[in-house]
Symmetry: C2
Subunit: 193 residues, 2 copies
């Protein structure tokens, strides 16, 4: 079977992982799936895109009921979305070389594709400044928003993959975008491809 | 204060981290401290070099009594060595740019020097093959030797630094030497310097 080279990017919220993924894809002239991917999922399921985003990271109701469903074997919406994402990412990686940001793609493709598994992180101060600039002020402090997001991403990742979030051993390379800079991260990943 | 640029390399046993450190230092024409560092410590303390190596990673007796001593505030030999290492690494980083492999140098220099903090890891199979080639066969299986070493390094690191070993957020960059290759790791680190 001919295997495409795929770059998967996991990232902490506010670390610039999505921006890095898009730039790498642009420079390599390959597609980048992120919000586009969500859109595709939405098209497939008929669910609203915002709803899916929430089911992936935010909806603690959905997430918690998913946790129960694993005990009682009744699939929830979150489980259903996971299955659709799983199939879609597998399909995309088969079709052509690409960058996939988030959605546990590293885990989904672990035995199926020739992947470069990347994790992007940065310290609180760097990310706090970035999210205010990118997404604007909120009632909550940026630090609280980051803590909340980190916790939910880690829990989601752990629940569906049983891998430790942010643990170096799960990746080929992890980069601190705060100390190295976003441009350097793009340059290194591109060079490894 | 003029700060020297220092590269600290933490690494899993058998991942080639020490080799990578030496090659980076060689190409950058700066010193690399590892067994040399141990020798310096030995000279200072009058302890035997092998004994010090053991106190750092192997001697569970020393390590456990160190754990007790933190409760009872009686410093053990392991604590004494930690203090000497601490001062020595601080001194070396002040003197000139260098590469320091192991010895929790990343933690020791965290607020004192301009550090590039690197972690090198690789999967079991890659490391097992490497340690047999580098250090020869033993009665224990290479996998058992690796598990034992990993556990002790992580415990030592955790005890003296309270940082999670191998956790991406503690480093500027982590590299999988098994999938990327030792040459590529050298190239990337050198490029970041």
């Amino acid at each position: 079977m001919m295997k495409n080279r795929v770059i998967t990017i996991s990232r902490e919220f506010g670390s610039g992982g999505r921006t890095i993924g898009k730039k790498v894809a642009e420079e390599l002239k390959i597609p980048c799936y992120d919000s586009e991917l969500l859109q595709k999922i939405a098209d497939k399921t008929g669910f609203n895109e915002e709803y899916i985003k929430d089911a992936g990271e935010y909806a603690s109701g959905g997430f918690l009921s998913a946790a129960f469903s694993h005990r009682t074997a009744v699939p929830t919406n979150a489980d259903y979305l996971w299955k659709i994402q799983y199939d879609l990412i597998t399909e995309l990686a088969k079709k052509e070389p690409c960058v996939i940001v988030g959605r546990c793609a590293d885990y989904i493709l672990r035995d199926k594709a020739d992947c470069l598994r990347v994790f992007i992180h940065a310290d609180m101060a760097f990310r706090a400044e970035r999210i205010v600039k990118e997404y604007g002020e909120r009632d909550e402090s940026p630090e609280q928003r980051l803590k909340d997001k980190d916790k939910r991403r880690a829990a989601y990742h752990r629940f569906y993959t049983n891998m430790k979030w942010g643990y170096a051993q799960n990746y080929d390379i992890t980069l601190n975008s705060g100390t190295l800079g976003i441009g350097t991260c793009v340059y290194i990943i591109k060079g490894l491809y």
